[in-house]
Amino acid sequence: MRKSLRVYLPFASNELKRQLAYKGAFYLFILVNMFGAFINYYLWMAIYGSSDQAILGGLTRNEMIVYVFMSYVTSSVVSISIASTVSDDVVKGTVAMNLIKPIDYRLSLISQAVGNMIYRFLVPAVFIWTGVEIYKARALGLPIVSIWNILLYLLSCIMSFLIYVLFDFCFGMIAFFTTYIFGMQMIKNALLGFLTGQLIPISFFPEVMQRVFDFLPFSSMVYTPVMIYLGKYSGEKLGFMLCRQAVWIILLYGAGSLIWKKVTKKLVVLGG
């Protein structure tokens, strides 16, 4: 364990350094992130303003404000695309350079994603998060979130991150068969926007759809941690939600290993 930590940690810290090396992208990223969150915010405010009900989809207007920003915080931290790295590696043939080293390809990708996650957590996420809390206390007059909820939220976030990257690894394996997956990435991102609850809280969907979503890993990626943050789950339900996340990690890990084994058997390295 300690040895593998020593081997894979540099991947994470290097990714962090790499991200910091591109300063322009760094500031643009914050700006773009904020922009998206505010569009969503005004959209929801308009919806609440024109509705005669105070609670929509189980959320009050104030809770919705928190939901909008926290789902942005969560998804920007959690959804780190491994698939694009895999596709890049396949197209350029650099996957060969990874395979000649005595390391696990998936673990090295995940470690890189961890570096990226930490970067995104430190840069836009923490600032927006603090902003949300200040706004909540000052303007909305709501109590600040409890330490206990923060800890649960962070735990859930880490599991969300793992679910996302493990899923994305499986998705990225498509690149080995089709070489190029840019188009499919676009479809994936659009679908994930809905399925994860990033754009619309899952509770807004019809009952039947919600039942279907229960059997998919996507709602565990964004919706679950944000609902935990809002304090919507407690007791048994909370335990169940966390367990469900853990089960998805195990299932996706197994699936990834299986697919990887199949892929390496028929791997074709491009170029040279």
Partner: protein
């Protein structure tokens, strides 16, 4: 050290049809084309050997290397590197090997070179003492300190290649695969890289397998060469044997004082050989007489005396067939026994 046993690799790709109609047809057909990139190749390589693995473009060199490094799984056959099957135990095998693909880099593109080395140290689990000793050696042979703190993307090709070679050697691999290590390098850098490879081989008894299109690499480094063509092995033996067997042509060029006398001279008659066994050319402007012949049929002194008896000779040059010529010949016609 390395045992390759009847190894083959097939690549399967969907059949393509020409033209726009073909493109549409391709959407509906499921016909597959099988291309055998490596076809039933076997060889063994001992510890400490430097083997040149050569062949024309697309002959299957890189594919073989990729199978020996564990990146590709052979379709048929088996190979063992230091007792390990690379495709089944990729990670264990990776610990034993170092690889340089001339057209790619294994270094971290955006980071200073020093960072790449630190990561590699951890990945290969190199102890601090070994690392220090290695670095001292690599710094001396490859002159890394000049650019050790610069990001890899800012290095020149020659520097990057030296860095890559250093990176491949950091963990003291038993086997070093070099896939075109001198591609695109200038003469001085080429020379340095060759020197480094030789020194590494001598000091650590590293087995080196080298694919290259540069004849100089082969002549300076390899004691043994394997030639493959269209996936099949067509030659395996020492460099000298190859030269002996196929480089039998000699060319003697002589600058002559009395060009008018040369017309009367009939070398084939004097030497008692057939016309096609001895090719005589005369360049009137330079007064050069060139005689090309098979060294097993005619001896060089015979030619010299025959000519010198007839005319006065100012200057003589004797040329062997160059390795490049031999290799070109083999690529073109295959080996005729």
């Amino acid at each position: 050290m390395i045992k390759v046993d009847h190894i083959s690799k097939d690549f399967i790709s969907p059949k393509k049809y020409p033209g726009l109609r073909g493109a549409v047809k391709g959407l509906f057909s499921s016909e597959k084309v099988v291309k055998t990139a490596v076809d039933d190749i076997s060889f063994t390589i001992d510890t400490g050997e430097i083997v040149g693995y050569i062949g024309s473009n697309g002959a299957g060199k890189s594919t073989t290397i990729k199978m020996m490094t564990g990146i590709l799984t052979p379709t048929r056959g088996e190979c063992l590197v230091a007792g390990i099957d690379p495709s089944r135990h990729r990670k264990e095998n990776a610990q034993n090997i170092g690889v340089v693909f001339g057209q790619r880099t294994q270094l971290w593109w955006d980071l200073p070179l020093s960072e790449s080395f630190t990561i590699l140290k951890e990945i290969y689990n190199v102890s601090d003492e070994n690392y220090a000793e290695r670095m001292e050696f690599l710094n001396r042979v490859l002159e890394l300190p000049d650019f050790f703190d610069r990001p890899v993307r800012t290095l020149s090709l020659g520097q990057r290649m030296r860095a890559d070679l250093g990176a491949a050697l950091l963990h003291n691999p038993k086997v070093l695969y070099l896939d075109e290590p001198t591609i695109g390098l200038d003469l001085v850098v080429k020379d340095n890289i060759r020197k480094a490879i030789r020194e590494i081989n001598e000091k650590y008894q590293t087995t080196v397998i080298l694919t290259t299109h540069d004849i100089g690499d082969i002549e300076e480094l390899c004691s043994r060469i394997i030639i493959i063509d269209e996936g099949k092995k067509i030659y395996d033996g020492s460099l000298n044997d190859l030269k002996d067997k196929y480089g039998t042509k000699r060319k003697v060029s002589m600058e002559i004082k009395q060009p008018e006398k040369i017309k009367k001279l009939s070398l084939t008659e004097i030497l008692g050989v057939k016309k096609e066994e001895c090719d005589v050319e005369f360049d009137k402007e330079k007064n050069m007489l060139c005689v090309t012949f098979d060294k097993h049929k005619i001896q060089v002194p015979q030619v010299l005396t025959a000519v010198m008896d007839a005319v006065e000779v100012k200057d003589v040059q004797i040329q062997e067939t160059e390795l490049a010529e031999i290799v070109k010949e083999i690529y073109n016609h295959g080996v005729t026994a």
